[in-house]
């Protein structure tokens, strides 16, 4: 059952559950962070509306810088702004930032210890028709490998808003992973959020498998949990929105309770959230695992749901992975 302490959306399993793009939560969060702190500045590489930075740009034109299609420059300019006390948010598609400008992020932001916030939108295959060039499936890996970088992959628009606001008041570089499509809203304004804190969204009595999901696929994990419960298989579902720093305590506790773990992410299995969980459990609590995600392939054009099915990341794929461990 849904964890009653987290004030989750009561209509979560209804057909007409509210659907909002995660990137919109970023746009709203940035606007609110900008209202609260004059030091917040926004930079975008020719995708202002697409990354939802236009809310901020329209309200604070003096604090918004249009960079043109120049993601490498954007990362380092943001470093310079941060050196002068600004709190820069940079936005583009994840494929280009932190994709194209990875070395600039490594050297001029992380190595240089400048608290720049990187919003990478259109992550995952759910970008859909644009095709594989625009579907970032490697961004979590290349972001989490960087010392000092905080990595957050919010599960819905509300969590994205809270993560954006929280990022503005942390003194470290942050990578915020955003998605393009409308996805179900699972949390509410009352749901607690803290960077670095994992939450159990679905509780099970004597769970046989723990499902750890990040991003919008958390919804597929919840659908799977509900169906599994109806079939008499109890599981727990964890929302692991902060991938770094990893909430090791919560992950080990879940592995202790469930004795088996399935990770779920819209990302390459190599190097992503599942890898981070495996690194933790291999050391502290080795248990059998299955990894739901993309297995060493590029994306392609299609409808989001077609692609999730094709690459094995939908509810049915999660149920299959759980059954392999039961």
């Amino acid at each position: 059952m849904l964890n009653p302490d987290l004030h989750l959306n009561k209509k979560i399993f209804d057909k007409d559950v509210e659907q909002v793009p995660i990137r919109k939560g970023f746009g709203e969060g940035l606007l609110s962070a900008g209202e609260q702190n004059q030091r917040v500045v926004g930079l975008c590489a020719d995708l202002t509306e697409s990354t939802q930075m236009h809310f901020f740009a329209e309200k604070f034109p003096q604090r918004f810088i249009e960079m043109g299609v120049a993601e490498q420059n954007m990362a380092s300019v943001a470093s310079g702004l941060a050196a002068m006390g600004k709190i820069p948010f940079i936005s583009s598609y994840a494929m280009f930032s932190p994709g194209r400008n990875w070395e600039q992020i490594r050297t001029t932001i992380c190595y240089n210890n400048r608290p720049v916030k990187i919003a990478g939108s259109h992550a995952g295959v759910s970008v859909g028709p644009d095709g594989g060039t625009h579907q970032a499936l490697e961004d979590l890996a290349i972001a989490r490998v960087l010392p000092r970088m905080v990595v957050i992959s919010p599960c819905d628009a509300i969590e994205a808003r809270k993560a954006t606001e929280a990022s503005a008041v942390t003194n470290t570089p942050v990578y915020l992973r955003l998605a393009r499509e409308k996805t179900p809203v699972m949390t509410t304004n009352e749901t607690p959020f803290e960077i670095g804190k994992a939450q159990i969204f679905w509780q099970g009595n004597k769970p046989r498998v723990g499902i750890i999901a990040t991003g919008a696929l958390l919804y597929q994990a919840l659908l799977a949990a509900k169906e599994l419960e109806e079939k008499g298989i109890a599981v727990e579902v964890m929302n692991l929105s902060t991938i770094k720093p990893l909430d090791k305590k919560a992950i080990v506790a879940l592995a202790n309770r469930a004795k088996a773990i399935v990770t779920v992410e819209e990302h390459q299995v190599a190097g992503g959230m599942g890898s981070a969980v495996a690194e933790c459990l291999a050391e502290h609590k080795p248990v059998p695992m299955r990894f739901v995600g993309v297995h060493d392939q590029f994306g392609q054009s299609g409808k989001p749901e077609e692609l999730l099915k094709h690459y094995g990341m939908d509810k049915d794929a999660i149920i299959k992975a759980v059954k392999e461990l039961v």
Partner: protein, 288 residues
């Protein structure tokens, strides 16, 4: 401070002391870059001893100008100049590139927090300086008095990011930004015009709406006057293309690209030091 003939002579002698420190620290380190640090000694001297608004004993003074060294590999000249200017002891220069040293092989703020940036990978310094200039302009608009200096190599004019930054600075009309290009015509693999021709370099900058000045990078008076003149430019960033002689000060090293990325051996270093210490006859001052 007024630029009298005595003052110019003093700065020339200071630049020579900095060249001596560069060679001494490179000999001690046993690795590092020689040509660039030597040829930028006059520029660094003028900046740190004449032009920059800064307080060596209070490096985090908020009102200071900012100096971004983009081509971090020439850090022996940055460290030596900072030491001579009073940021830290000249003795510490002997720790260059050693384990635990504040003077990392390429500058790193974690180890030496008084640096404005960590640098090494080429092509990103101008972007950072543009960010600093933008921040100052957001806060102070056209009345901004602060100057942001970006020191660049000519080799990094081959990096696309340099031109992304140049384009943005021109668009944003950053009058508070001064880029200095060390036009020493060499890079690791050879002479720039053979590796990847850069000319006409000044036309490239002009095309992005920069005010372009070309000077002799070893003429202390001209360097100081040019930095002063750059302060009067309105509505445009300024780039100073400083024509330098790679390895300047040690004739055996001059104009030879092979000195880009290696240090002198003990014997070569001893010869260089001898030449620099008797420089009285080498770099003639017109103001004697």
């Amino acid at each position: 401070m007024e630029l009298t003939d005595e003052r110019i002579k003093e700065l020339e002698e200071q630049a020579n002391k900095i060249r001596v420190s560069i060679i001494e620290s490179l000999i001690e380190a046993g690795s590092g870059h020689t040509a660039g640090p030597l040829d930028m000694a006059d520029i660094f001297t003028v900046l740190f001893f004449h032009t920059l608004k800064h307080k060596p004993k209070k490096p985090d003074w908020p009102e200071r100008d900012r100096l971004v060294l983009s081509n971090g590999h020439i850090c022996p000249v940055l460290y030596s100049t900072m030491a001579h200017a009073g940021y830290f002891s000249i003795e510490e220069l002997k720790t260059l590139r050693k384990f635990g040293s504040r003077l990392q092989g390429h500058p790193h703020r974690d180890y030496l927090p008084m640096l404005e940036t960590s640098s090494g990978p080429l092509g990103s310094g101008l972007s950072q300086a543009v960010g600093m200039a933008l921040a100052d302009k957001i806060d102070h608009g056209l009345t901004s008095q602060r100057r942001i200096y970006a020191l660049l190599s000519d080799g990094e004019m081959e990096c696309g990011q340099t031109w992304e930054a140049a384009m943005l600075a021109g668009k944003e009309k950053l009058h508070n930004l001064v880029a200095v290009v060390d036009r020493n015509n060499i890079q690791i693999d050879g002479y720039t015009e053979e590796v990847m021709p850069l000319e006409s370099l000044s036309d490239k900058w002009r095309a992005w709406n920069w005010h372009v000045i070309e000077i002799d990078g070893h003429n202390i008076e001209e360097i100081a006057d040019t930095f002063a003149a750059a302060k009067s430019i309105f509505g445009k960033p300024t780039v100073i293309i400083t024509h330098t002689i790679a390895g300047k000060g040690v004739p055996e090293f001059e104009r030879d690209y092979r000195w880009h990325g290696k240090p002198p051996s003990k014997e070569e270093g001893a010869l260089a030091l001898k030449e620099l210490r008797t420089l009285g006859g080498k770099i003639k001052s017109e103001h004697e």
